[in-house]
């Protein structure tokens, strides 16, 4: 463990603020405060424990001593990765990312396939005047459920009259989850590769589709001088300025789920709501735990790539139950991971999960 991290852990006062807000502590054998305590004493930590963390960031945002528990968890994982003591599925995700630059191991030259679903051409970013890049994200480039998101957002940006380009097959995984799994070496490689492309093509601005990519590009790629935003920020601005409007009507009760990497960790709460409020007919509802206290869907921190023991109730299910109680018909999210985790329990309970852009496409 780096000396700086170890020193931070020594200042933990065991106040329990981290556990009190952690979506995993309590319901699973994981207890983040206890991990900090054991780390202080360099005691053995059962090797399954660090993998429960979803990297939601609540602990790090709130810790009064700035111990950054979620970062300590990453260090604990790093040690396990180094020793090869990690769940098989994660091992596979790392290898896949090393070879194909995406955790699912899909062929790199299929990364731009989603573009075929568009009825207009999207240029390579080098061919744009603005040098504005739409950063797609692995899951949205490959997963059949999520592929529609970049397609939608591309259409919406075009409708709003905004020029943008893509990197196509040259885009590599952003590495946000890879760093959180504890493979900082691989993360640095991905960062280097993407930064290389950004520099080569003179990228000035990045519109990230996934909050996870936005987080990495904005906060973990160092001082790049490139402006990074989430697509909801762009659309909200277009709507406010009048360059994007929705003639259709969407007469549904929609509840908005704040993704941890968009909300808690990057303070983007209002833009997605402003967008939904601009949809005619839509009634916007709120969870009892919303904004800063939004309950994590458990899709982050590598949890998307493997299953922890399923004896514990999924937070996604808790979320869906709450949505139902509040009278929602549709749960809207602005993150592909949230869409994926929420969808199963929602379908079971007769609710529908939609990514924000899917609602917008119905009224455009």
């Amino acid at each position: 463990m780096p000396e700086q991290t170890a020193t931070r852990v020594l200042t933990c006062i065991q106040c329990g603020k981290c556990t009190g807000g952690c979506p995993e502590s309590g319901k699973t054998p994981f207890n983040v405060r206890m991990l900090m305590r054991k780390t202080q004493f360099k005691s053995d930590i059962e090797e399954s424990l660090p993998w429960y963390c979803t990297s939601c960031g609540a602990c790090t945002i709130r810790c009064p001593r700035d111990v950054k528990p979620s970062e300590v968890v990453i260090e604990l994982r790093a040690k396990l990765v180094e020793d090869g003591d990690i769940p098989l599925a994660l091992q596979k995700a790392l290898e896949n990312t090393f070879v194909q630059k995406n955790p699912w191991g899909r062929s790199r030259n299929k990364r731009a396939d989603w573009l075929e679903k568009l009825d207009f051409e999207v240029p390579h970013v080098s061919g744009t005047e603005s040098k504005r890049l739409l950063f797609v994200c692995c899951i949205q480039a490959y997963d059949p459920r999520c592929m529609v998101i970049p397609v939608n957002v591309a259409r919406l940006l075009k409708a709003g009259g905004m020029e943008f380009g893509v990197l196509g097959e040259e885009e590599a995984c952003c590495g946000n989850e890879i760093r959180r799994i504890g493979e900082s070496g691989l993360f640095e490689e991905l960062q280097e590769e993407n930064l290389g492309s950004f520099t080569e093509y003179g990228v000035q601005e990045i519109i990230a589709l996934s909050p996870h990519c936005m987080n990495a590009l904005k906060k973990e790629y160092g001082d790049t001088g490139i402006k990074v935003v989430h697509y909801t920020e762009v659309l909200a601005k277009m709507i406010a300025e009048g360059s994007l409007s929705f003639p259709g009507s969407f007469e549904k009760k929609v509840i908005y789920h704040d993704p941890c990497f968009l909300g808690k960790q990057n303070g983007i709460f209002d833009e997605p709501r402003a967008i939904l409020k601009a949809v005619p007919g839509l009634e916007l509802l709120e969870f009892s735990r919303s904004r800063e206290t939004s309950l994590c869907c458990e899709g982050g921190g590598g949890r998307m790539f493997f299953e922890v023991e399923s004896v514990y109730q999924r937070n996604a299910e808790v979320r869906v139950i709450d949505a139902g109680k509040r009278g929602a018909e549709i749960i809207a999210a602005a993150c592909p991971f949230c869409v994926m985790t929420l969808e199963d329990p929602a379908t079971e309970k007769g609710l529908v999960v939609k990514e924000l852009s899917e609602i917008l496409m119905e009224v455009l």
Partner: protein, 434 residues
């Protein structure tokens, strides 16, 4: 030694400034007490009771405030501030601005007819009650206020702020004390020495969204809770929330203290004890109340304090080691999510009222004050003092006491007021000798 030709300026009329002023005055020194608010008394007069004795705060402080008003050596200037200062030898030439009160202090009998008649009656959020409850635009902040006189709030008075009002107050006042032509006064005065006692503000926990302050009804700060408990408060001393008596109380300590996230790495010194006090007040008034207190460690230092903590526990307040991660909305109640560390269990505790023991911050205006006087402040904005002479500032002849230099409870503030007064006299005596 005769000091009757000596003048000292005391800035701030809380318990710290009052202590220093009375001490100096008792030695024959002429004291000008400058208070920016409408009354002296500071935060202590906002408190219901004081730990660890549970004495009524007003009963302890009020006589001292009256003493200030009656003492011939003390000239009290309320709603006043310092505008500039130039050094003159060992002394100071200080510019003072007395803002208008719009009520003639010699004529006002504090009968209150004006406030009854004011068209803004019941419409202005009351600062003294931490904005809980409403007052009129002409008002007296609380019944025991010193000066014991009404005043006009220029920002909320329709006539002063917009030039348009039927001025019902003027008709109501039998002594003709109201004077809208009052423009206040500005002048310069010479002082041989200055004592600063600007006190403190409390941390605003709105930014800690996970605790629900400002978004969830029933989440209040410690100082708001003092007002809710106080007989001069918005509910006349009944502990009420929306007219109903809460039964389940959850107190959270260390909100904005010992906390890097809000930039205050220090302990505020008073919150552990005032929370224990709050628990005692609740137990006394609501016999069947459920009381929970979340703590990191209970700082009950010195004589009488740990004993007080134990009494609080005996009275059935459940101390939970662990700071809640979140306060969320439940079914007609608040839900506090907390790791009860000593049992190793995660708990979701239902509560009607959550009281945040918010920490201490320097008064917002202390920066301006210090800039005018060229006084150094520490990284948090408290006035910087000498390590072994805790009333000594970087400026020769300017002393500090009370919360202005860092967290202190009332006994410590009183001690520091005495220290500042004696250092001040020492300084004056030296000046007289040279």
């Amino acid at each position: 030694m005769d000091h009757s030709d000596k003048n000292v300026l005391v800035v701030g009329g809380g318990i710290g400034g009052i202590t220093a002023a009375l001490e100096l005055a008792s030695c024959g020194i002429k004291v000008t007490m400058l208070e920016s608010g409408p009354s002296i008394g500071g935060r202590m007069i906002q408190l219901d009771k004081t730990f660890p004795t549970l004495d009524c705060s007003t009963c302890t402080l009020s006589p001292k405030m009256v003493e200030v008003a009656l003492n011939h050596n003390i000239d009290l200037m309320s709603v006043s501030q310092i505008t500039h200062m130039t050094r003159k030898g060992p002394g100071f030439l200080v510019g003072i601005k007395k803002n208008p009160r719009y009520v003639d202090q010699d004529k006002c009998t504090a009968c209150g007819s004006c406030a009854e008649a004011c068209v803004m009656k019941g419409r202005v959020p009351h600062e003294f009650n931490m904005l809980l409850g409403k007052r009129a635009a002409i008002y007296i902040p609380f019944p025991q206020a010193i000066p014991q006189k009404y005043l006009v709030d220029p920002e909320r008075c329709l006539f002063v702020s917009r030039g348009k009002c039927k001025k019902a107050c003027m008709d109501a006042c039998e002594t003709g004390a109201i004077n809208f032509d009052d423009t206040g006064e500005e002048f310069e005065m010479y002082f041989d020495s200055i004592v600063l006692a600007p006190g403190f503000d409390v941390y605003d926990p709105t930014e800690k969204q996970e605790l629900g302050y400002g978004t969830l009804p029933g989440v209040v700060t410690g100082l708001e809770f003092e007002r809710i408990c106080s007989v001069t408060g918005p509910t006349a001393g009944d502990i009420l929330l929306d007219g109903k008596e809460p039964k389940r109380f959850y107190f959270i300590q260390c909100v904005g203290s010992r906390d890097r996230q809000s930039g205050a790495r220090y302990c505020s010194r008073v919150c552990c004890m005032y929370t224990a006090k709050h628990a005692c007040i609740v137990r006394e008034r609501i016999k069947d109340a459920e009381i929970y207190i979340s703590y990191i460690d209970v700082r009950a230092y010195g004589k009488g304090y740990d004993e007080f903590y134990k009494t609080t526990q005996e009275n059935g307040a459940l101390y939970i080691r662990g700071i809640p991660g979140e306060v969320v909305e439940g079914d007609g109640c608040l839900i506090v999510r907390v790791e009860d560390m000593l049992s190793g269990e995660m708990r979701e505790i239902e509560a009607d009222m959550v009281v945040l023991a918010t920490g201490v911050r320097p008064r917002k205006t202390t920066g301006v004050l210090c800039d005018i006087l060229s006084i150094d402040r520490d990284e948090y904005g408290f006035i910087k003092v000498d390590a072994v002479t805790p009333s000594l500032t970087n400026a020769d002849g300017i002393f500090v006491c009370g919360m202005g230099s860092g967290p202190k409870d009332v006994p410590d503030t009183v001690a520091s007021g005495g220290e500042a007064a004696s250092r001040c006299m020492e300084y004056i005596a030296k000046g007289a000798g040279s």
